[in-house]
Symmetry: C2
Subunit: 269 residues, 2 copies
């Protein structure tokens, strides 16, 4: 599937913090994406975003000035729907933003104040909608016998918002795992299954793939644990101290805009 | 310090779920406490309650029909004040209920919307007051450089309230530990230091002490890890499945009311 020359490698691309930050494009990102298309580098956007459905992501791309098709974008909600179906889980309680529920159209969902038994409790990034009542509701569902499966839409720890660092989905999943003595099935980064699925879609082996992201743990470290080379960008949630830890990225770039020049220098032989 | 006969052993007593449940006494608890006093069993109430100050606990006892002195009650807030002083930590952000702040009178505290650097971020059981904004505020404080110390007022996972099981402090501490990549100092059950301090106050060794509680992990398991015999009561948050795990209590009683008869049968030789 891989062409010769520049496209000997395939690329997994994180979105928020790499291509854009909130509603602002990262400078030079469109030009770098154009280069990727021109060079026919096989690529897939792999995001842990659960705050909006895939359809809304594609619309956002258009607004920002670039485009992608649905099958070029992998989200945890899409992966979770697949996982629930594969494991015969029909009934789920969805702790995800209202808009993201549309990605679960194949799942039988219960309202969060329902006392119906569920097969799975699905946790996404509810952001400011989290409060004690809601987290406790998920906990009470997990304490039923038999215990439903806890499904985490990614394990991103935090992201950088307008008001500084913001908790993402992982801390809430960790809270529930500890309270209910269970272990979450993670669909999304940094789970190996998510990267494996991405490689399968691209039809490449790990050593022929690169992952570019702003999260030293969830993007770079997680990819490298799967044998995929990780490229750290210094945008998004990046902090200088990220490079003091045990994770050594294959490359560190100031931003996504620097990818083409770096690629031509390093990978095109 | 230990007298002969019945009082060869000292007793650590959990409060909520053992002596009372919310605002209701456990039936027969007063009579059992009277027996403990008559037999001069050295005892200490060890609670992870952070929802009210120690002074309010003593008042609650009076309302319920029994009494204790301040030095008969150990709470995580009292232990935390001591720990902060011992470690030269002067400035702290307190995520504890307003009333409990009085137990920290020796600590210099900052308001939670302050940007002042702190030595410690102290997490108690805020219950329904927890929301995203507050948890994120604690997280942002922990992401400062240098990182403040995360101090957990106990690690109780949940308790049984009027509306079923309720998340306690531990899940929120776990959320923060994971988000900010740090490990909390736990003052309160199930930390060994908390039990050691209790034994020191009573002047007994672990093998001469018993701990009675409703939490199979935080009371019974934690005490037994310290060499203290654990007695599980079937009141409070107890669930039958608690006995299916790895923790084997030294004894299981229907309630605190059964303690005197069990004690005379088992320990008084």
């Amino acid at each position: 599937m891989l062409a010769n020359g520049t496209a000997r490698y395939a690329l997994l691309i994180d979105l928020d913090g790499v291509i854009y930050q909130g509603d602002r494009l990262v400078a030079g990102a469109i030009e770098a994406l154009d280069w990727i298309k021109r060079q026919r580098v096989p690529h897939l956007f792999v995001t842990n975003t659960t705050s909006r459905p895939r359809a809304a992501l594609l619309e956002k791309f258009e607004t920002l000035g670039f485009s992608a098709s649905a099958d070029e974008v992998m989200t945890p909600a899409i992966a979770a729907t697949q996982w629930l179906a594969n494991h015969g889980m029909q009934k789920a309680a969805l702790f995800v933003p209202p808009a993201t529920v549309q990605d679960f159209s194949r799942v039988d969902t219960v309202t969060l104040d329902s006392d119906a038994a569920v097969d799975a409790v699905v946790i996404g990034d509810l952001g400011e909608a989290w409060d004690f009542r809601l987290l406790n509701r998920a906990f009470q569902m997990l304490m039923r016998d038999p215990q439903p499966c806890l499904v985490a839409l990614g394990m991103t720890r935090y992201w950088r918002g307008k008001n500084g660092l913001q908790l993402d989905v992982a801390p809430f999943v960790k809270a529930l795992e500890h309270a209910a003595s269970c272990e979450a099935i993670v669909v999304g980064k940094p789970a190996q299954g998510f990267f494996d699925a991405a490689l399968e879609i691209l039809g490449v082996s790990a050593e022929r793939a690169l992952m570019i992201g702003d999260d030293i743990v969830g993007d770079v470290g997680a990819a490298q644990r799967c044998g995929i080379r990780g490229i750290q960008v210094k945008t998004g949630k990046f902090r200088d101290s990220d490079l003091d830890g045990e994770i050594e990225p294959f490359a560190v770039l100031d931003s996504f805009a620097d990818l083409p020049a770096w690629w031509e220098r390093t990978l095109s032989t």
